[in-house]
Amino acid sequence: MQTTQFLTPMPLPLQINPPYSLDPRGPGAAHIADLWWIMFFLGTAIFLLVAGLMFFGLFGRQDQSAPNEQQGLRWIMLGGIVMPAIVLLVVFGITIRSAVLNANEVGTGEITVEVVGHRWWWEVHYPEHSVVTANEIHLPVGVPVEFILRSNDVIHSFWVPQLGGKMDLIPGRQNTLILQADEAGIYRGECAEFCGLQHARMHFMVIAHTTEEFEQWIESQQAVAVQPQGELARRGEQVFISAGCVYCHTIDGLDDGAVDRSDSDLGPNLTHLASRTTIAAGTLENNRGNLSGWIANPHGIKPGVLMPATLLPGEDLQALVTYLETLQ
């Protein structure tokens, strides 16, 4: 992996930026923002010209000579044909230039991240590191990352506005997208293609770190879960198995009696749930309160989500949450 030691240490604390695509933090989004500003000024100029001509026509003084058709045809020739033709050539040129620049600068990905779209969450794999997570993608700063995008059900679209354009996840196909973050930070991602009932709550977070921190993170994610300390947490582990959570959620290292999950619509892998910033695909901050409410009834928060409500005695719920919080 490419090292990027020359980068300054990550500023703390990290802040989640609003997903503002004109506030780019990566070369992909930066080139597009540049393209936009050029087009914006060209467009504004043309608009002012047209509006000006309209008001001139409405309120300007009439020529004393008889109005002639020839003058009008000249307007059409110059304004309707010549001007758009020139402007379009320029715009087409800068469009192509922007695409080429971006391709050159980003080049090929040095890390591969596979993203699989589900209704309504994101499964994330690091095939080179054997790491699986969900709704949260960690990247090293300054390194181009190749995203392999697939879908298991309907069409979704992977979009991190501050890093670059979007790309669809289409069942039966595989798309790739190369993104690079130039600054450490947390960037919001969205599903941009309507994918059904909870399309609105299908977010994710992209967390860019320094290379060292990224490697630390990878290492921590490679570990499997160990038997939790404390009575309550151990009880929670049992609840996790007995309440049926295991039928959709994997926890690597948990002795769940080799449950067969091949037939169900799988939920996210929870091996390192407690290390994630959010739950419910970027909808809620990952804290005790939200986790409890989410487990008790996810449909109050994300109506129609495929996860069922779980009716647990209060103590079991406490135990389960305590257990899940040990999954660092």
Binding site: P18, P19, Y20, S21, A29, I32, L35, W36, M39, G43, I46, M54, G57, Q62, P67, N68, E69, Q71, G72, L73, I76, L78, G79, G80, I81, P84, A85, L88, V91, F92, T95, S98, A99, D153, V154, I155, S157, G164, G165, K166, M167, D168, I170, P171, G172, R173, T176, E190, A192, E193, F194, C195, G196, L197, H199, A200, H203, T283, P303, G304
Partner: protein
Amino acid sequence: MATTLSAQDNETLKQIWQPPAGILSFFTAVNHRTVGLRYIITGLTFFILAGIAALLMRLQLMFPENTFMNAELYNQFFTMHGTTMMFLFAVPIMEGVGIYLVPLMIGTRDMAFPRLNAFGYYVFLISGIVLWVSLLFGSAPDGGWFAYTPLTGPRYSPGIGTDFYATLLTFLELAALVAAVELAVTILKLRAPGMSFNRLPIFVWAILVMSFMIMFAMPSLITASAQLALDRTMGTQFFNPTNGGDPLLWQHLFWFFGHPEVYIIFVPALGIVSTVLPTFVGRPIVGYFYLVLSLVAIGIVSFGLWVHHMFTTGLPILGLSFFTIASMMIAIPSGIQIFSSLATIRLGKPVFKTPLLYVLGFIIIFVIGGITGVMVAAVPLDTQVHDTYFVVAHFHYVLIGGAVFPLFAGLYYWFPKFTGKMLNERLGPIGFWLTFIGFNVTFFTMHFTGFAGMPRRVYTYLPDLGWDMLNLISTLGSFVLAAGIGVFFIDLIFGLWRGKPAGDNPWGASTLEWATTSPPQPYNFASIPIVHSRDPLWDANGELETYAVEPYLGRRETIGTSVLDARPEQRVELPKPTITPFILALATAFTFISLMVNIVLVPIGGILIALSVVAWHWTDIEDHKAKEVKQEPEGALPSSAIISSKGRHPTFWWGILFLILIEAVVFASLIVSYFYLRAGAEEWPPELVGRPDLLLPTINTVILLLSSIPIYLADHGIQRGNQRRLKMGIVGSFILGAMFVVIKFIEYGNVNYAYGWTRTAYTSIVWMIILYHTVHVITLLIKTCVVGIWAFQERFDSERNAALQVNGLYWHFVVLIWLPLYATIYLSPYVLGSGS
């Protein structure tokens, strides 16, 4: 040779054209002005409904995490909003304005096929009502107006909601297509004497271009929505990736229709602008030829842009840049339209009446929409703004600015003609300014919302992402916009109630519709005007020269003229009021709804349709028995009725020609589907199914080809008056056609195809193509039966044989179209090998 009618003939004319009265008249009226107004009023009603849906959505988005509406309802609302605005408002209302105005503008008495016209309206009305009733029952479609598969497939949208969408859309397109066909035929064949193409009003040009666009675009949607309906109800696999289907096939077919669709709405709107503007600046539009050329160019180029809706689907970048340049190119003809308007304003003397305000509003808003349109055509930028509120802003600028503003201009402009009453000039500007300001506040803000990262089609959003204020502003703006539109409707109602009476030509306009009374007489023109220039009323100096059509046959007639230079050619018979269009529409609706409810009912629907068609033509035949005895006076134009037409091609020959065009596009989209699925398949045909047998189909193809010969001989024979050859030929071709159908059924009994059409996408597409073609051959056989009966009654002779010509034309088409289908299904697996 100018002629006018005698006073007595005038009386007869009034009697003949007496509109139907009583309660039943709602179901029997066929007159183009009645139907046109119904289209407009129904369209405006759907506009209000979809507008209310939009307001409710804006209320939901007013605050983050708002609970005004749940996700289920919101998704149904935005689906219904889009579907309604596109399919139940924009296209029908533009067609409605065309149906009302085109016959008046070209100086004729009705559309070429008034009954078909009425039929189209009922189809539109029924499908609109059923779609909205589904919302009342909480099972409206919720997959978006674009209905991307596989989300809308049987697995991910199991309820009946999407069935409503897939089935009713297919049904609804019938209405759009019949309107397009008859508008085109009307414009080509019924223009007033002397109205050659270079004298055609711009609006009529626009409607002509729109009609051809509909004929080319809609079949692709029909194919796609039929495939979706089959996937959902019959279990075919067109869009299911696990069985060889491809979700992107839907996107290609949908956008091949969907992009031109925007211009289908926009082109007639341009026509309205270029009609309204000259009247209020008091001079002809500048650059007529450029305008016409650019309308045609828009029509053509708009078919090369569909992929720009798919820039983020991962298609190869080289292909995408082609679509970038094509999408940007369309700015040139649009630029011509805008600068023609600017030049006309500059060279004229503007009079600030409400219609002009809306035209000026159009220029401002549409230019912004056009500029953002060029932006989204750039692939890199599009990957950022695609499916965000930026795009929502863009296309509302294009559609509201480019279509609704011109439409309102047109409604203000023609309201006096429609109703005989003037609208209020004080209320008009208030409505305009509220609409204009409200619109810009709502939608200009959305450009920012898009850059702030808010995706489309979300029922709610998290707080503190920088979207809260933007959404609040948009919601507030939308209520101002709604208030403006409310004022507009109040103005319309108030005008109907107590508007000042309008004269024939209150604005001093130049086109022929203003030569009639306001509102026009049932027959529009007592004598058909003769046209010598592009602005007949400005150049006529008072009196229009006219051409009389004496009502000596006692039936509704108008003049048919030649296509290019509009020389009088024939007397075109027009039907009396009749209930048959309504009955046929009901029967067709029954069939389509059966598709959703229970497939067993479909054959019953088929029988009902057949019976309605018989009833439809029954009156024709009865009429003719009575009429044929009457003597035609010396020098009268030859008549063009369904059986006894003589001379030039009758209007229905043209109708069939356009039907063939539509059918050809449907078949083409089926072939494209086949090869598109093939390109994405690993193995084609799948091992499991194997290559098709060649022997039987090849023999069958030869039989079908041979069947064209007797039909040709029959046509040829009757033109020389040979009745025997006619009868022999018809019988011969009927037998060969029937053999083809029988052998097809035998072939499909074979084990090779027993896998059924639900097995893989391959079997689905092969079955669909073959079934669809076989249905055509069966239709052909039924038609030939009817013509055969007439032939054996010896109703045809060397001059009166138009029905035969039409039948022959369609026969040859069905035979010839089989050749590419045969090559695709049977030969391509051998020639091209088994897949990529």
